[in-house]
Amino acid sequence: MLEVKDLVTAYGSIEALRGVTLTANQGEITCILGPNGAGKTTLMYSIACILKPASGSVMVDGREIIGTSAPHALSCGVALVPENRLVFPSMSVEENLEAGAYRRLATDRQRVREDIENAFIRFPALKDRRGQIAGTLSGGEQQMLAVARAMMSRPRILMMDEPSLGLAPLVVAEIFSIIRQLNDDGVTIVLVEQNAHMALQIAHRFYLLDQGQVAFSGAPGEIGEDDVIQRAYLGSKAA
C-alpha cells in the first residue's frame, strides 16, 4: 500500500505540489487525472525519490521513503515507468531489460535471465527485437520496453506516467490490457493519465489533481464519467 501525505514539492520558489494526500490500495489500480501542469509528473518523480519534496511523507507498506534515493525507493518495491518512456537509446532491448534488473544482476543472474524470457512472453512484440537498439523502436514498442524494464525489478507497486502519450489508439488499447493483466497478477498500479476515458474504465479509484492539489477523488461509477472529465479539464464548476 502506498500512502502519500501532505506532499509539497517546489521548483525554486514555485510549489508544483501543494500538499497532496492520496492512497493507493494494495492490488488496486489507482488513477491520477488532471490537466497539464497539475503536478502529476512532479508527484510521480517525488514518490520515486527522483525529486526531493520540501515536506510531507510517502509510506510504502508503512515505511517512509521520502528523503532516501531512487534506488532505495525501488528496493522498497516502487517502480516508475517515466513520462516519455526514457529507454536507454543506444542499448539493445535485452540490455535495457538487464539494466531494469540491475540490483539483482550481481547475485541473481540466472533468475534475471528467466525474467527476461518471461518478459518476452508478456511482451511478444519485444521478443523479435531483443537485439535491436532501443532508440530505433517505434513509440509503442518503446513504451512496452519501458514497462517491461520497470517490471524487471519485480516491483509490488508499479507507477506509470502517461503510458498512452503519443501512441496510436490500437497500441493504447494494448498497453491498457497489459496494465490490467499486471494488476490481475497482483501488482498495485498507480496510473497517471490524460486519457480520462480509458483510465476510468480500468481504475478502482481515481484522484483528480489540479494546481498541485487533489481537487476531488472517488471511484468510477460513484460519479459520472462526463462529470469527472468536465471537472478535470473544463474547470470545477459543472455546467
Binding site: 520515486a48 527522483i50 534515493s69 531512487a70 534506488p71 525501488l74 528496493s75 517502480a79 516508475l80 517515466p82 516519455n84 526514457l86 529507454v87 536507454f88 537509446p89 543506444s90 542499448m91 540490455e95 538487464e98 539494466a99 531494469g100 540491475y102 540490483r103 544482476l105 550481481a106 524494464r149 520497470a150 525489478s153
Partner: protein
Amino acid sequence: MAIDFIDVVQAIIDGLLFGSTYALIGLGFTLIFGAMHKLNLAYAASAIAGAYVGLAVILMSGLPIVLTFVLGPVAGGFIGFGVYITCFRYMPATNMLAPLMASIGALFFIDEIIIHATAGSPLAFPAVMDDVFLEVGEYGFRGDLIFVLVTSLIAMLVLLYVLFGTRLGLATRAVSQQVVAAELCGIASHRTNATTFAITGVLGGLAGCMAAAAVGVISPLLTVPITVKGLIVTVIGGLGSIPGAIVAGFAVGGFENLFLLLFGVNQRDIYVFLLLFVFLVFRPNGLFGKAINRD
C-alpha cells in the same frame, strides 16, 4: 634538407606508436563527457600527476622501476576520484560552466603542485624495452614505443570489456544515456560517475607514464600540451565516441610526427591546430560523432 619517402613513413610509424597515448587521453575525455556531458579539463593534468606520484614512490621506496607503470595508474585513479569530488559531484547539474571552470582551476592547481614539488625541473622517467629495436625492411620500430603501443592496446581492450561486458559497464552506459531512467533502475548515478572518474583516472595515469616514458623525461611542461592534444583528439574523434577517440588518437600522433618532420618542432603544432580547424569547419561532429540531440 631532402626528405625522402622512407623518412616520411618512419615518422608516421613513430607517430602512430606514440599516438596510442593520445588515444588513451582522448578516451578519458570522451568517457567523462559521455557520462556527464561535461568536460573535465583537469584530466590530462591528473594523468601527468599520476605518473609523477608513481615515479616518486618508486624513487623513494627503491621498488623495481617497472612498477612505476602500475603505481602511476593507481595514483591516477585516486586523483581522478578527487577531481570528481571537488569539481563535479556537488556542482548543480544544470550549471555547465561551474564544473568546467572548476576543472580548469584543478588543472592549474595540480600543475602548480607539481612545479613546487619538483622545483619546476624535469625528471628522468624510466623507459621500458628502450634497448630493443625492431627492424622490418627499411623501417625501424623503437622498443619503448612498441611497449607504449602494446600496453595502451591492452588497456583499451580491458576498458572495452569493462564497458560492454560487466555490470559496472552496464551502469556506466545507463547513466550516460539516460540518467533519470538509470536512477529508476536502481543505479546510483553519483557512485557510478565517481567510478567512471576513477577508471578514466587509471587510464590517464597509464597514459601519463607512457608519454613520459616515450619522451624520457617528465616535466610540468607536459600538462598543457597533453591537455590540448587530448581535446583535439576528442573533437576529431567525435565527443563521446569511444572508437573515435582511439582512431583520432593514432591519427593525431601520426600527423603530429609527420608535421614535425616536414616543418620542424617550432611549427609542428600550428599544423596540428590547422587539422583541428579543418575538422571543426567540415566535420564538426568529428569522425564518429553523431549530431547531439538534447531532449
